[in-house]
């Protein structure tokens, strides 16, 4: 479907070029190209990027790539030109594969030749901006990652709080949300709803699957009684089974949503930001606020915290513990599904995205204190910021290693976490 659309745009551009008088006039020489960010199998057109063609320091023409990433600059005569890509106009998340290769110095155009040239673009943080700007960029990306981790980790932390189970299959709830939304939004087999519409049923189904898990698996196991270690092994078996099931259905390659895939940056007080990052941060903050109010102000939320604090005491004071546990599973899984969709919008969707996220979730939850919702939120933002901002100094490949480092240091100096209580840690 996606390829078809690109092909249509290409064909339309081609026809327009052939018919337009300007094109006919310049039938001789031009320099053109299509900007595509190539990430493994995936090619995404990059719109809104400025290309400048110069000859001996003299500007010959300027073009901005269109929605298909196409750009064309007519040139007056055969000769050698310099073609420069203006790096600052690259959207967030797209960068030159080889930094510094933004100028092609010797582009030889022969008589009546339409010269096609290519810039190698790939995923990455765009360089060519000042250190402070890059640092602020990273802070925003870190806040976004923190917000996403927070959505995903509240469920893990609360489920641990009310049942004592560290659910290793929680990462798969994240993937499931993203994949369900992909099916409803971008899959040719699905209804192809806009992402905003598709996200709602995806979150609801994710929440329902959490409830079904509790009713069909974890509840019976707890009543059976099954020990903590057996439950952990079962959860890791479930995680492995679900992950590979998703792999069979969704396949291995990463895919993006269609909506919001590539966006033009906003400039605000010297900080450039991608609108979707801001939207993700604000929307997550709103959801987290609602969850916080729910836990503090409503009866059910208070009951949830009471069960997490002391199950027996809560039960003896008349709280229906099983109903509270079921609600926690539904809420936690729904939040994880939402987090997965946000993550899919900001990166790509892949069958093991949740498993990779799980490592960050663990770091966040242990940092904040296992079993607490607010600890999970605080820990998530700290981990998100640390992980992203660290790339300012260290290589991108070590992001997750830093999260593990924080986790281990925290276990050594304050194992109950920032907001956790000491009795829990054993």
């Amino acid at each position: 479907m996606r390829r078809l659309r690109i092909a249509q745009v290409l064909a339309a551009t081609f026809v327009a070029l052939m018919l337009s008088p300007a094109a006919a006039l310049a039938a001789g020489e031009d320099i053109h190209g299509q900007l595509e960010a190539i990430d493994g199998q995936q090619r995404v057109p990059v719109p809104g990027v400025t290309i400048v063609v110069e000859q001996d320091g003299r500007e010959i023409g300027v073009a901005v790539s269109d929605s298909a990433g196409m750009w064309v600059v007519p040139v007056p005569e055969a000769g050698t030109y310099q073609v420069r890509l203006v790096v600052d106009t690259l959207p967030d998340g797209v960068a030159l594969t080889v930094p510094g290769h933004e100028v092609l110095p010797d582009v030889l155009v022969r008589s009546s030749q339409a010269k096609a040239i290519r810039f190698q673009l790939g995923p990455g943080v765009s360089s060519g901006v000042g250190d402070l700007d890059r640092f602020l960029d990273l802070v925003i990306i870190g806040l976004k990652l923190g917000a996403i981790i927070a959505l995903c980790s509240i469920g893990l932390s609360l489920i641990f709080g009310v049942t004592g189970l560290v659910n290793f299959a929680h990462g798969e709830m994240v993937t499931l949300g993203a994949v369900l939304a992909y099916f409803l939004h971008a899959s040719p087999l699905g209804p192809e709803w806009p992402l905003l519409v598709a996200a709602v049923p995806a979150v609801l189904i994710g929440a329902a699957i959490g409830g079904i898990q509790e009713l069909g698996l974890w509840g019976p196991l707890r009543r059976h009684p099954t020990g903590l270690i057996a439950m952990l092994v079962i959860s890791i078996g479930l995680s492995f089974a679900l992950r590979n099931l998703i792999l069979i259905v969704f396949r291995g390659e990463p895919r993006p949503y269609i909506d919001y895939a590539v966006q033009q940056k906003w400039e605000f007080l010297g900080i450039s930001m991608v609108p979707k990052n801001i939207v993700i941060i604000l929307a997550s903050a709103a959801i987290l606020g609602v969850v916080g109010l729910f836990l503090q102000r409503t009866k059910l939320g208070t009951a949830m915290r009471a069960v997490a604090d002391n199950k027996d005491l809560a039960e003896s004071s008349g709280i229906n513990v099983n109903a509270v546990i079921l609600t926690t599973w539904i809420m936690g899984s729904g939040l994880a599904a939402a987090g997965g969709i946000f993550y899919g919008v900001s990166e790509q969707i892949q069958f093991d995205m949740g498993f990779k996220m799980l490592l960050l979730i663990f770091a966040a939850v242990v940092l904040g204190g296992l079993g607490t919702a607010f600890g999970a939120m605080v820990g998530s933002f700290i981990i998100g910021l640390l992980v992203e901002v660290s790339t300012f100094w260290v290589d991108n490949e070590f992001k997750t290693a830093i999260a593990l480092g924080v986790l281990v240091v925290m276990l050594l100096i304050r194992p109950q976490g920032l907001l956790g209580s000491k009795e829990r840690i054993g």
Binding site: A230, L232, G237, L359
Partner: protein, 329 residues
């Protein structure tokens, strides 16, 4: 469908060098999980440490016979590093740290930063020539009956690997029956009781984790020798899950369990793999499953199998249900 061929393939896998390496690794995991009650969800990380320890030593001019103890030491050291911050805490903290550490170790050895040492994704090749030079068998000949055959090279690896498994199994048998073994089983049953008898629980747990890590390191070396190469992406988290299925299938907390578990697991895994592949080729699944999908179904079954075993028959083939709760021997 050629059932005979599938059966022979599965049998070859069941006694093959990979099964032996899994058996050795599972003996280490069984010491940690089955006897001490430690949840190590990153066992593959210890195997990686062993394999890279040996391969890097050879790569930098050392002998393989120096590399093997270095690899084992790397596994032991990783156990110390991961156990120290977590073993005083609840069981799940060790699980969280090990699962993360194993995946991050894989990311680090495959990073371009580590390339000068680990050769990143290009891997370290042909590091075990010294081992194959010792082969007394005829490399060109093939040994076996009918289709059930191994080359002289394969048979040499198989003989050595299973001998190592037998030695490790015997040593573990003696250790479990020693006073040391009684203490670690006591810790599994009731940590507080063991502590009240004046046993230093933390130290015993750490020893068990390090010893299991060393065994995993050696098994990683065996796996790498068999392939004559070390690549980062060999050490996927899925190997840890295979090992859990092996330990629980055979019977956690038994000596013979992990060994039989590895043989049965490899047999079933390859039987099902070949079966699904041929069934897909013959068009049993229509357009529902393509070749890749059919090959991945076995992984889903590993996960489902692990859940079912743990929920329905946690004692496995040879285990005793009481052994998981109270030790009566």
């Amino acid at each position: 469908m050629d059932f005979g061929g599938i059966l022979v393939d599965a049998l070859r896998a069941a006694v093959g060098p990979v099964a032996a390496a899994y058996a050795l690794s599972a003996i280490g995991l069984n010491l940690q999980f089955g006897y001490t009650g430690l949840l190590n969800f990153g066992h593959v990380g210890f195997m990686l440490a062993g394999a890279y320890g040996a391969a890097i030593t050879v790569e930098f001019g050392g002998s393989l016979w120096l590399g093997i103890p270095i690899g084992i030491a790397a596994g032991v050291l990783l156990g110390l590093l991961l156990g120290f911050p977590t073993l005083r805490l609840r069981a799940d903290y060790l699980a969280i740290v090990t699962i993360s550490a194993a995946e991050i170790l894989r990311l680090i050895v495959r990073s371009t930063w580590a390339h000068p040492v680990t050769r990143s994704v290009f891997g370290i090749r042909a590091f075990a020539d010294e081992f194959f030079d010792m082969n007394p068998l005829d490399v060109g000949a093939s040994y076996g009956w009918g289709d059930f055959r191994f080359s002289g090279r394969q048979l040499w690896v198989i003989l050595v690997s299973w001998s190592v498994v037998a030695i490790a199994g015997f040593l573990l048998y003696r250790m479990i029956r020693s006073p040391w073994g009684r203490v670690i089983r006591a810790i599994r049953e009731d940590e507080y009781a063991a502590r009240s008898l004046g046993k230093h629980v933390f130290s015993y747990k750490l020893q068990s984790l390090m010893l299991g890590g060393g065994l995993a390191g050696l098994s990683g070396i065996l796996l790498a020798i068999e392939q004559q190469s070390v690549f980062p992406d060999t050490w996927q988290p899925k190997i840890t899950f295979f090992l859990y299925v092996i330990v629980i299938l055979g019977g956690a907390g038994t000596i013979i369990g992990p060994i039989v578990g590895a043989i049965v697991f490899q047999f079933l895994f390859f039987f099902f793999d070949r079966f699904m592949t041929s069934a897909q080729l013959e068009g049993w699944f229509g357009n529902v499953l393509d070749a890749t999908g059919a090959a991945q179904v076995k992984l889903v079954l590993v996960g489902v199998g692990l859940m079912t075993l743990m929920a329905v028959r946690p004692e496995g083939i040879f285990g005793h249900r009481e052994e998981l709760l109270i030790d009566e021997r």
